[in-house]
């Protein structure tokens, strides 16, 4: 696993964030960057403090595609909480993303 960015408000590493998210991309394409940007924004807005994002570049580690059955790219996999949910696309449709992640939107 390469670039692992953990973002958590509280500095304690003991608490495991509720949402474990993995974003599969294939290299630095426009779609990948867009997806990552969107993901960060959505998480900050609605899951502040409870998430952890892993970024997996399939060009570097192709064998990982089989484990999570990745076909489309970019794919966001919600590994925790169970059940596993997959969201494909660059995540520009925020509503859909939230439905997919099963997250209650925080009304601002």
């Amino acid at each position: 696993m390469k670039d692992s960015k953990a973002s958590s408000k509280s500095g304690s590493n003991a608490t495991v964030p509720a949402y474990q998210l993995r974003l599969y991309v294939a290299g630095q394409t426009a779609k990948s960057l867009t997806a990552f940007q969107n993901l960060k924004r959505i998480c900050e807005t609605h899951l502040a403090g409870q998430y952890r994002i892993e970024l997996i570049d399939l060009l570097k580690t192709p064998q990982l595609a089989a484990g999570d059955q990745i076909l489309a790219v970019p794919t966001l996999v919600r590994r925790l909480p169970e059940p596993i949910k997959k969201i494909i696309g660059d995540l520009s449709n925020e509503e859909r993303v939230l439905v997919g992640l099963d997250v209650q939107p925080i009304q601002d």
Binding site: Y24, A26, K31, T34, A35, N38, L58, L59, P62, Q63, A65, A66, Q69, I70, L71, A72, V73, P74, T75, I84, K85, K86, I87, I88, G89, D90, L91, S92, N93, R96, V97, V99, G100
Partner: protein, 581 residues
């Protein structure tokens, strides 16, 4: 010797051989190399089996490792399924000849949230291909993608890209798809995979199912365009092509004995040609199976291998029945010279039966084959359907120079001439032996005659043939004033003739003896007459001598007397005057 060969490589596009029996012949060498081929068919038609065998044989026999991307089954299921064909997928995976990749798409899991592409699939596939250096890929079945992914527009674009990607890497791909209502595949895969399309069909005809394969299109290559029956057997798939579109098989001149001395004599004295097809037809109970078994027995005696395909009796039953006429086939089976394959004709379709025969013949390599009877197999079919399939089998057997005997049951001996019911099939046969039961004087006897025997002089006599404890034998039929006599009438007639002959001989001997006696009698008569003659002659001689002496004496006396009387008187001149005293 003209070799039947595939088109020379330089003219046709390069092909990836499949290794599947018969398929390479139909496609002229295999699937197009480096290009995708579409395999469409209804559910259960055998697409996955064919695709799997393509990969496995490619890896094992042609040194081309393969990747199997399965969208529906998982690798455990596939491994278990192909084990019945005798393939061990686990071993091949361990040897790095095969990669099984299960791509699972769960529609409910997927939420579409914007733009995406299927690069993930490409990466997975690329990784799998590179890990073993694969040259063949199977995608079974891409239609699962259509069911799983919501936006078909993206999918179609990506599929186009996928096939270009595969072509660029020189991968021979095999894609399976289910037959659609009006199109070759349900989702129109044939748009992308346009180089070669093959359909598999599994239909039921008169309660019997047959599997057929057809090459719908093949760009850049000649191919067989008919529907070919195929079988999923114990060693994989076998397709049955017409192996000789040209009639160019050899005509050996060697002769093969039928096992019955009298029958050999009827066939020009030596039997049938090697590689000939022999039809033995007749009403029930005329002895067809016995003749068929006799051919096989004769072959084994010569040390040649033989197969008996039985569609009416079990192997045990045949052995027992043949033993009753003094033919013991069991030792040949033990020695491995004879195989008896018995199965019910309704078990599978005609083509499948012929395919199994084909397989058995290829693996055992016999020199003589008997099919007993063939009439069951063609029961529910019309002549147009039967003839081409039978022709395939006979052609193949002739190519291998295998002498074949087909027995056929004809309906009754009464109304229709038995020749009529066999006309279609008989034109494929070189030799036709017709068995008939001859009824007369309250009994039925078996007769046989040679209706036709191509290429040799044969007897046109009807001969009676007997099945008894020491075997089959042929006897000359007696032609009397009432016509043909067989059975006990014949034996009666023969006895009568024998008696008559004996009487004549006795008569003759008697006459000879009589004549001898007469001759002796006459000879003795002659002898006695001869004796009489001799004695008569002797007497005559004696008489003459006596007379002479008497005359002599009388003269002498007279002269004497003259002298005594004293001379003067001259004696009366007599005849002896000249004579002096």
């Amino acid at each position: 010797m003209a070799k039947r060969s595939l088109p020379p490589k330089s003219l046709a596009i390069p092909k990836a051989a499949t290794g599947i029996t018969g398929l390479d012949e139909i496609t002229g060498g295999g699937f197009p190399a480096g290009r995708p081929t579409l395999l469409s068919g209804s559910a259960g038609a055998g697409k996955t089996m064919l695709a799997t065998e393509f990969l496995i044989r490619g890896a094992m026999e042609y040194g081309e490792p393969g990747v199997f991307v399965m969208f529906e089954e998982n690798s455990e299921e596939l491994t278990a399924n192909v084990r019945s064909l005798g393939f061990d997928l686990k071993k091949l995976v361990a040897q790095k000849l095969l990669v099984l990749d299960h791509v699972h798409i769960e529609r409910s899991e997927i939420e579409e949230t914007g733009e995406y592409d299927l690069e993930g699939l490409f990466i997975r596939l690329g990784h799998a291909i590179d890990s073993i250096g694969a040259k063949r890929v199977v995608l079974d079945t891409l239609e699962a993608l259509f069911a799983g992914l919501p936006t078909h527009a993206i999918l179609r674009a990506e599929l186009r890209r996928l096939f270009r990607w595969l072509k660029e890497r020189g991968i021979t791909a095999l894609v399976t798809g289910e037959t659609g209502e009006n199109s070759l595949t349900r989702y129109g895969l044939e748009e992308y995979v346009a180089d070669c399309v093959i359909t598999l069909d599994h239909r039921v005809n008169g309660q019997i199912s047959t599997r057929r394969l057809r090459v719908v299109k093949y760009r850049g290559s000649a191919h067989g365009t008919n529907e070919y029956p195929f079988l999923i057997g114990e060693r994989g798939i076998s397709v049955l092509p017409i192996t000789s579109l040209r009639l160019d098989h050899h005509a050996p001149t060697e002769r093969v004995s039928t096992g019955i001395a009298g029958l050999d004599e009827m066939l020009g004295g030596k039997g049938v040609f090697r590689g000939a097809s022999v039809l033995v037809s007749g009403a029930p109970g005329t002895g067809k199976s016995s003749i068929g078994a006799s051919f096989v027995d004769a072959a084994c005696r010569r040390g040649e291998r033989a197969i008996l395909f039985a569609y009416e009796e079990s192997a045990e039953q045949i052995l027992r029945n043949m033993r009753s006429i003094g033919m013991d086939l069991a030792p040949w089976i033990k020695k491995g010279l004879l195989q008896i394959h018995a199965s019910r004709p309704t078990l599978q379709g005609l083509e499948q039966h012929l395919l199994s025969m084909h397989e058995a013949v290829s693996s055992f390599q016999p020199k003589v084959v008997t099919v007993d009877p063939i009439s069951n197999l063609v029961l529910s079919r019309s002549e147009e359907e039967v003839k081409p399939t039978l022709m395939r089998l006979i052609d193949h057997l002739k190519q291998e120079q295998i002498t074949t005997v087909f027995t056929s049951l004809t309906t009754g001996s009464g109304s229709a001439s038995p020749e009529d019911s066999q006309v279609g099939v008989s034109s494929l046969m070189d030799t036709w032996l017709l068995l008939r039961n001859h009824e007369q004087n309250g009994e039925r006897n078996r007769t046989i005659y040679v209706l036709k025997a191509r290429g040799m002089s044969h007897s046109n006599q009807v001969r009676e043939f007997l099945l008894n404890d020491d075997g089959i034998s042929l006897v000359d039929v007696y032609l009397g004033e009432e016509g043909v006599l067989t059975g006990s009438s014949r034996t009666a007639q023969e006895a009568k003739e024998k008696a008559a002959g004996q009487r004549q001989r006795q008569d003759h001997a008697r006459r000879l003896r009589q004549f001898e006696v007469r001759r002796k009698a006459i000879e003795s008569q002659i002898a006695s007459l001869q004796a009489e003659l001799e004695s008569g002659v002797a007497e005559l001689d004696f008489s003459v001598a006596e007379e002479a002496s008497r005359i002599d004496t009388a003269r002498q006396n007279s002269a004497d007397m003259a002298v005594r009387r004293g001379g003067g008187a001259r004696p009366a001149p007599g005849p002896e005057t000249k004579g002096k005293r």
